[in-house]
Symmetry: C3
C-alpha cells in the first residue's frame, strides 16, 4: 500500500459540482488517503436530530470509487450553533471565570456531560452508517484535543474534578496530605470544598494545580474514549486514532498512546525558525517511540505557509519535500496535509492547501504532486522500523510540575530543555528514542534524563537499577526533587538520586536573566546560563567546574561509577558546544555510534528496515551542497537528480545532496 499520501478534505465548503474535479486532481496528485468530516457536524445535523447524511454518502462513495481511503473524522471538534445556544453551559470558562464563546472552534467544556452525550450520539450515527463502507480505513476522533481549550474552570468542570479527586484519593485526609494543605491554612473538611485552581490572590496550591493538569488531560481523554467506545463496538475492525500536537502540554502523548491504534501527529514547521527540523526530529522520535517503534502518521502539515503565526512565511522550494521525508525517515507511514483545497472564506483561507487559490499552475501543487509520485515509488518503506541505542526521557507529569509557579526560577521551560538535550544527539547523527521514565530501559546503551524535576522514588530506583546493571545515564540539574504530589523528597537534594549520582545539591543557585557563568574542564571552556547549584561531591568526580561567579571553583559536571555503569550529572545549562562535547564523551563511553560516521554538518541520516527492505535516508538540512560517502554501494530508491550515479550497475557509493536534498538508498539487491 505504501506511504499514505493526502490531506484533510472538507467538501462541505464547496458546491457539489467541484467534487468531481477534486477526485480527478487527487488522482493526479497521487493522493491515497483523505481525512474527511472534521468540521461537518453542523451540516450533517443542522438542527437537533435532523440528520442529513446524504451529501456525505456521496462524498464517501466518490472517494471509494476513486480508490482513495478515508480517515473518517467523528465530526465532534466544533459543536454546531444550535447546540451551544440550547446549552450555553457547555461553553468553557477560563481561570478568571470568563466564558469562551462560539465563533471559532473547540468551544466546549471537556467535562460537559451534555457535550459528551451529543458527541456520542453523533458518533453512533456515523459508525452505524459507514460501518463496512469500502472507503473507511481509519477513524479520526475529535481534532487536536486541547489545542485551544486546554482546561476549563467552570462549575461543571469543578464538579467533575471533585469526582476525579474522590476516585483518586478516597479520603479528604489523603487529599490534604498529598496537597500539603497544612500550608496557608488550606485543609479541606470535605471534597465538596475543593475547587479548580481558579485565579487566586497569589500562587494557588501547586499540588492542586498539578492535579488539575492531570485531570484536564484525563477529561480530554474521557471525551476521546467515550467516542472510541462506540467505534470499537460498532466497527471493531477499523483502527482508531486522533491527531496529537507536538510538545503539547495539555495532552500526555504517552498516556494516550495506549488508547490509540496508531500514533498520529500534526506538525507545522515554522519556516522562519532556523532549527525547526530539530524540534521536528524530537517530536517525530517521540511519536515513533510512544508505541514502541510502530509506524505513525503525519496527519497534518502545511503544503506552504500557515496563517496563525504573527508572520507566516511559506516553505521555500524543496523544504516541504525535505520535511515530509524527514517524517518518513523517522518512522511515519503517512504524509498528509491540512487541507486539500484552499478555502475561500473563514479563518484559515490563507492557510496553504495542496490545491492553492492559484490552482494547479502553482509551485505548491507541483511540489505536492511530485512528492506524491515520489512516495508512491517506494512502497516498501511502509511498515519498516528503526532501532535506537539511546533513550531520552520525557514525562508529562514532570513537565507539568516543573513549570508551576513559586519555583527557584520560572525560566525552566521543559520544551526548550528537552531540545537542548536532543540537539547534540541529533546533530551527531545518533538514533534516539524518546520514552517515559517508566519504560523498560535495559535495552538502551545510554539514557538521558533532562530535568526530571518530578521523579517518584520507584522511578528513581529503576534508573539506579539500570545503571547498576551496566547502563550509562546522564541526568541534568533539578531532577529528582519532588514526588508525584510536588512534595520535596526529604533527605537533601536530589534525595532519591543522591546515592546513584554520588553527590548532594546543597543549594539551588538559578542565574539571573541575561547572566551567564564560565565553565571549564581543564581542556574546554565555555559558558552556562539559566541555572547553577552548589554540588557537594559524595563519591562522584567533578569533570568540569564553574570558573567565575558566585560558585567559582565548584563542580558543574560530575561523573560517578555506580555498579557496572556510570552516571553523569550536569548542574547547569551548558552552551551548545559544551553540551555537544559532553554528549559526545558520554556517547563514546556508552559505545553508541552514529547511524553513519563522518556525516557532513546539517545532514540527517536514519535507517528503517523490515520486510520491505532496508532504507537509508539522507536529508540535507543545511544550506550548502554536500557529499556523503556510503559504507557500501547502495541503490538509489528515488533516482532523482540529487543523487550522483556511482559505482556498479544502478548503485552509488557516494551521494551529492544539494541544499534541502533528499536521498533514499536501499540494499543493492532490494
Amino acid at each position: 500500500m505504501g506511504i499514505r499520501f493526502g490531506g484533510d478534505y472538507n467538501p462541505e465548503q464547496w458546491p457539489e459540482e467541484v467534487w468531481a474535479e477534486d477526485l480527478k486532481l487527487m488522482k493526479a496528485a497521487h493522493v491515497t488517503m483523505v481525512t474527511a468530516g472534521i468540521f461537518s457536524w453542523a451540516k450533517v445535523e443542522p438542527r437537533y436530530g435532523a440528520w442529513d447524511f446524504g451529501w456525505f454518502d456521496r462524498v464517501m462513495d466518490g472517494l471509494a470509487g476513486a480508490g482513495i481511503a478515508v480517515c473518517l473524522a467523528t465530526m465532534t471538534a466544533s459543536p454546531p450553533p444550535w447546540l451551544s445556544r440550547a446549552h450555553p453551559e457547555i461553553l468553557p470558562e477560563d481561570a478568571d471565570g470568563r466564558r469562551r464563546w462560539p465563533g471559532g472552534r473547540q468551544h466546549y467544556c471537556p467535562s460537559s456531560p451534555v457535550y459528551r452525550a451529543h458527541a456520542v450520539r453523533l458518533v453512533e450515527q456515523l459508525a452505524t452508517r459507514y460501518a463496512g463502507h469500502p472507503a473507511l480505513a481509519l477513524w479520526h476522533v475529535g481534532n487536536e484535543y486541547g489545542c485551544h481549550t486546554r482546561q476549563c474552570y467552570c462549575d461543571v468542570s469543578a464538579d467533575d474534578f471533585r469526582h476525579w479527586l474522590r476516585a483518586r484519593y478516597g479520603s479528604v485526609d489523603a487529599l490534604n496530605a498529598a496537597w500539603s494543605t497544612a500550608f496557608w491554612s488550606q485543609a479541606y473538611g470535605d471534597f465538596d470544598e475543593v475547587l479548580p485552581p481558579r485565579t487566586a490572590p497569589t500562587f494557588p496550591n501547586p499540588a492542586q494545580q498539578l492535579d488539575y493538569l492531570r485531570f484536564g488531560d484525563e477529561a480530554l481523554r474521557a471525551c476521546y474514549l467515550a467516542e472510541k467506545a462506540v467505534l470499537d463496538r460498532v466497527t471493531p475492525e477499523v483502527p482508531v486514532t486522533t491527531n496529537l500536537m507536538p510538545q503539547h502540554k495539555p495532552v500526555d502523548a504517552f498516556a494516550w498512546s495506549a488508547h490509540m491504534d496508531t500514533m498520529a501527529l500534526d506538525f507545522y514547521q515554522d519556516p522562519y525558525a532556523p532549527d525547526d527540523h530539530i524540534r521536528a526530529g524530537y517530536v517525530f522520535d517521540l511519536m515513533r517511540s510512544a508505541r514502541s517503534g510502530q509506524p505513525w502518521m503525519l496527519l497534518e502539515q502545511a503544503p506552504g505557509a500557515v496563517n496563525w503565526r504573527p508572520r507566516n512565511g511559506p516553505k521555500p522550494p524543496g523544504a516541504m519535500r525535505l520535511w515530509s521525508w524527514q517524517a518518513v525517515a523517522q518512522g511515519a507511514d503517512a504524509v498528509l496535509y491540512f487541507q486539500w483545497r484552499q478555502s475561500l472564506g473563514g479563518a484559515e483561507k490563507f492557510h496553504s492547501a495542496m490545491l492553492p487559490h492559484g490552482g494547479t499552475d502553482t509551485r505548491v501543487f507541483r511540489e505536492v504532486t511530485d512528492l506524491g509520485r515520489e512516495l508512491a515509488s517506494v512502497p516498501g518503506i511502509e511498515g519498516t522500523r528503526s532501532r535506537a541505542e539511546v533513550a531520552l526521557l520525557a514525562d508529562w507529569h514532570s513537565w507539568w510540575a516543573l513549570e508551576l509557579d513559586s519555583k527557584p526560577s520560572t525560566a525552566l521551560d521543559h520544551s526548550r530543555i528537552a531540545l537542548d538535550h536532543y540537539r547534540p544527539l541529533f546533530e551527531a547523527g545518533v538514533a534516539c528514542d524518546v520514552v517515559p521514565p517508566q519504560r523498560e530501559l535495559s535495552g538502551y546503551r545510554l539514557v538521558v534524563a533532562p530535568n526530571l524535576y518530578l521523579l517518584t522514588a520507584d522511578d528513581a530506583q529503576r534508573l539506579a537499577s539500570y545503571v547498576r546493571e551496566g547502563g550509562q545515564l546522564l541526568v541534568s540539574f533539578f531532577s529528582g526533587i519532588v514526588d508525584a504530589h510536588d512534595r520535596v523528597h526529604p533527605g537533601g537534594y536530589p534525595a532519591p538520586l543522591r546515592e546513584l549520582l554520588g553527590l548532594r545539591v546543597e543549594e539551588f543557585w538559578p542565574l539571573d536573566e541575561g547572566r551567564s557563568v564560565a565553565v571549564g574542564d581543564g581542556v574546554r571552556t565555555g559558558r552556562a546560563d539559566l541555572w547553577s547549584e552548589v554540588i557537594d561531591l559524595e563519591g562522584a568526580d567533578a569533570l568540569a567546574h564553574f570558573t567565575d561567579g558566585d560558585l567559582a571553583g565548584r563542580p558543574a559536571v560530575t561523573r560517578h561509577a555506580y555498579g557496572r555503569g556510570t552516571v553523569w550529572y550536569v548542574g547547569t545549562r551548558l552552551d551548545a558546544a559544551l553540551m555537544r562535547a559532553l554528549l559526545d564523551d558520554v556517547r563514546a563511553a556508552a559505545g553508541v555510534a552514529p547511524v553513519l560516521p563522518g556525516l557532513p554538518e546539517g545532514v540527517q541520516a536514519t535507517v528503517r528496515e523490515g520486510l520491505g527492505g532496508r532504507y537509508l535516508f539522507l536529508l540535507n538540512h543545511g544550506a550548502r551542497t554536500v557529499e556523503v560517502g556510503l559504507p557500501a554501494p547502495m541503490r538509489d530508491a528515488l533516482a532523482v537528480v540529487d543523487v550522483k550515479v556511482g559505482v556498479g550497475a544502478g548503485t552509488v557509493d557516494r551521494v551529492t545532496l544539494s541544499a534541502r536534498g533528499v536521498a533514499v538508498l536501499t540494499e543493492p539487491g532490494a
Copy 2:
C-alpha cells in the same frame, strides 16, 4: 465672518462669578465661537426629569451678548450617575463579558434603546429651548463617538446585531454563505443563534468580525442620527455636526460625512512624534475630501500639552501656531481648542487650556491670543477651497478586513501604510485628496491605492475603467484579495485586478519581524520589509526586482500599460527613499506638479482660493530657517516678522521662514 476661533467652554466647572471674566478674556483672545454643554447633562438634569436650564440660559445669553457664537453640544456624551444606576443595562461590555463602569465618560452601550431614548428626550428639551437663540450657530451631537467604547458585546448589542443581520441578509442561508460558515461547523439554523464575536477559544469567524465592525459603526451612527432627527425637525436651519477623530477605526468618516452638515475633527498632535504633521496632513486632507472640498472645522486641539499619553510634552513655542495654520492651509474654516479654562479637578486638569492654571501671564495664553488676532486679520480665507490632481484611496471596510486576525501577516497596519503612501506626496509638495474607492475618479491625474485588501468586483471594475480612460494608478501589495465578506476572489490573486495589473501573485511571502530584503531597479537600490510576494508577469513590465532573500530575481515593482492609462504595482513595502523615488516617477508620468516647485525640505505649501481671494500658505515644519522663492510677487497677508519684505509696494518675491514659521500670501491686488 472669517476663520472661527475658540474652544470648548465648560462653565459648569466654575462658580458663576467667573463667567464674566471668561467673556472678557475671550474677547481679549479674539474668540468668536465656543463649544458649550458637552458634559452638562448631570447639571441640566440632576435627577430624572428635573430639568434645570436656568444656569445654561445665562451662559448662552452671556455669550450672545459678547457676540460669541455657540456650537451647542447635545450633552449626551456622558450619562449622569442616576441613569446608569437606574439602568445598569446601559453599561457596555467588552468581548470578554466585562462590564465597563461609570466614573469616566462614554459608559453606554451604543445599541441601548434606554440610552438612546434618554438622549433623545434631552435633545428635544435642548432644541426646543434654544431654537432661535441668537448665540446658537451649530449643533454638536454627542462627542468623539467610539473614542473609548468602540464596540459593545452585551446581550442588548447581540440582539441589535441580529436585527441588523436580518435586515442585511434576509435569510440565514444568505448569512451562512456570506460568512463562509461551512468552515469549522458554524452554519446557523436561525438568526437567533448568532452572537457578537465575543472572545472565542481561537480566531472567531472573520466575516462575523467584519460585520460586527460595520454594525458597531452603524450603531454609533444610529445614536447620532436619532439625535440629529430631533434637531433637524426642531431647528432645521441650524447645521449639525459632531467631532470625529483622526484615523479612528470604529467610525467610517466617509459614511458619516453624508449625515454631517460640516466635517469636524479633533486632532491632538504629539509634540514628541517627529513627523506628526504628516499624519495631520493626511487626516486634514481626508476631512476636506470627505465632503468634496467643503471647508471643515478643527473642533478640538490642545493649546499645549495633553494629559492622556504616557509622557505629555507641551507644544514648543510656535508649534501651536504652525499646526493651527496647517489646518487652515488644508481647508479648515475653524480653529478651536479643548478647552477654554483649565480645570482645577477631574481627569483632564493637566490638559492644557487656552487660559492655563497660570492665568493670562503665560506663554500659552499669549500664543492663543496672538493666533486669534492673526486669524481675524485674514477673514477672506473663509470659504475658499483647494484643488488636487492626486487622489489617495482610503476605505474603512478594507481597513477593518485587513487588520482581522488569521492573515499571512498580522503586521499590516492600515494607518501606517496609509501614511507610507501619503508621505512621499506630502514631502513632494503635491496637493492630494483622500477619498473612498467609490468616489468619481476621472477628475484625477493620479490615483494611489494602498493595500485595498477588500475590494469588490465593482470597485475593481471602476479602477480599471479609470485607467482605461487614461488615468494613472498605483496599487500596493495585498490589494483586491477579498470581497465584501472577506471571501477570497477566486481566480488567482488579485483576481479582480489581474487583467488591469497584468500580473498574477502566486504566493504571499510576508517577511519576518526585523527582516528586510534588497530591492533594485538597475539604478537605485534600497531595502524593503514587512511583505514580499511571488509575482508572475502577465503583460506588465518589472521595474524593480528583489535582489536578495528567498525571492531574489523576482519582480518587486511593475508597470502595465492598460487602455490609455498606466498602472503601477508595488509588491512590498519599500523604504522611504525608494517610495519617494517611485512616487516621483509616477507623478512625473501623470503630469502632476507640486503646488510650488523647488520647495526647501520641510516646507509645506498649499493654495486655497475662492470668492475671498487666492491664498498661498507656506509652513516650515523643519528645524532650519529657509528661503522660499515665489513665482510672482505676492502680498504678505499676515505681515509678521517671518516674512521678508520684498520687491514693490507691499509685495514680496521671496519669503524667509524661520523654524516653525508661517506665511500667508495673497495676490497683490487682493
Copy 3:
C-alpha cells in the same frame, strides 16, 4: 533580653514527632522568639465552631519550656475552605469584576462583615485561651495586610465605601465638590449612586480613585483594629503588632503606627538587585521614624533565597549576616526569618528557611546559628536609639495621588523618587529620619521633600514656618500641586509654595522616554531626565540651568533665602552624581555632618546609644576590603575576624572590613 532572634514557626506542617527536634535545634541556633500560628486557622477550627486547640497548646507549652518567646499570630490571614464555601461573598473582586478564588491566601474582601465577624470570633478564642501563657510575648495580627488583595471592588466593598463617604463628606454636595464631578457630567444626586472606581471606558475620576485608596487602607486597618480590640480587652498587658511590608502602597505605615505597640517589618532583599541595601536603609529608617525612634522588629527576612521572584538567587556567604546587622544598626531589636523549617510541600517549599531541606549540615543553618550567637553576645544593644539631623518627608496620600493616571507623565514612581533622594544621604553616611509632613520638623537641621505632589495648604504653611525659623529645606519638582482632593491649588504652580520657593512654574515639561537633557551650574555638568519645567524666578536664584533641549538656558535648580532659613528647589531629576553633589552642598549649608567622616565608599556607619551603651556599627556593602579609622579607640563588641586588633588593651583605632564585613564597636569602658 537582647536582640530577639528566630522566625516563623509552622508546626502544623509536620508530625508531632518532629517538634522535639525543632526545640532542640532552635536552642542550638540561639533562637529566642518564634512567630507561631500565622496559617493555623484551618487546623484549630477544621469545621465551623469545631475548635481544636489541643495540638497548639502542646506547641505553646513546648516553646515555653524551652524558654522561647512566642509572637502569637491571630491566625486570620487565610480563611479556611469551609468559610469561603459557606460564604463565597467574602471572596474579593478586582476592578474588572473578576472574583479571586481560594487556593492561595488572603482571599477575603477586607470590607466583608462576614470575614471580620469570623476573624473576631477566632481571636476571642485565642486570646482567652492563651492569656497569661508564659510563652506569649506579643500578638501578631493578621499577616502582611494588603500583600495580595490590595483593594476589593465587590458590591460589599461598594456598600462599605458609601458608608465611609457619608461619614467623610456628610453631604453629597460636599462629595461633588471634593471630586470635581462637574467635569464629565459625574455629579451625584445621592450617595447611593456612588461606586468604587471599577474599570471604566477611560480614566475614572481621580479624586474617586484617591479616596478609594484611602478607603482601602482604612478597610484593611479596620480588620486589624477589630482584632486588636479583642486583644486589648482580654490581654491588655501584651503588646500588639502586625508585619508591614516595605514601600507598600496599600498600607500607610504612618497611619498604622499609631495603632501598633511596636513597628514590625518584613523585608526580603533581592540578592540580584545591586543596591538593595539602600532600599533597605530607606525602609528601616522609616520603620524607626514611624514611632519616633522606638526600636522596631525585622519580623521576616529570608535566610537565603526566596521563591516568588522570577529568578531567585540565594544570599551569597556573609550577605544574610550583613543585612541582618543593617537592620539592627538602623534600630531593629529583633531579627526573625520566614521560616524555621523549610516546607516539603505547598507554595513556598523553595523559600529558604533557617533549617533547610538539606538539614543542619548546610551553609544556611551554619550562618543562621552563627548570627544567633553573635547577636546574643551584645545584649546591650536592645533599646538603644539613634539620632538624625535630616528628615526625608514621605506621605502615602501624596504617593497615591502622584501615581494616578491622567498626569503630565505616568513615569513618576514614588518609590524610585524616594530612593533617588535617600541615596545621596545614605552614601554620604548621614543619619536620616523618614517622616510624614505633619511631623514636628523644628528639631531637624535639614528637611528633604521629594515630589510632594499632594500638599495641603496647612502642610505647606508648616514647611514655610520651618524655613522661616531657620530650617533648610530641599523641595523637588511637582510638589505642592494639588490639595487633599487632587484639585490643583489655584494661583500658579506650586501655589502654596510659591512665596517660600521664590518662583513660579509656568509649564510642566516632562521628558520623553529615553530622553535626557544637560544641566550645569558653571562648575559641574551632568544629565537629567524624566521631568523638566519652565521656572520663572520670583526671588530665588538659579543655581543650575538646563543647557540643551527645549528649555536650554532656563533654571533647573534654585535657592531662595526665606526668613532665617534657605530653601532649594530642583525642577528635574538630576543624575546620581549631580544629586549627590547638590545634597552635599545643601547638607554643608545646613551644618549636617556624617556619622563618621571619611568613610570608604560602600561602608555604612550608624550609631545607637542608650542605657545599654553606645554602639558604632560599620557595615561594608562594597565588594572590596577597606580600612576604617575610628575617631578614638573603641572596643570590638563582636571580636570577630573582621576586626583588626588595635592599640591599647582590648581596643582598636582602625577596623579592617572585608567585603560584607560587619563591625560593632563600643566605648572602651563599656
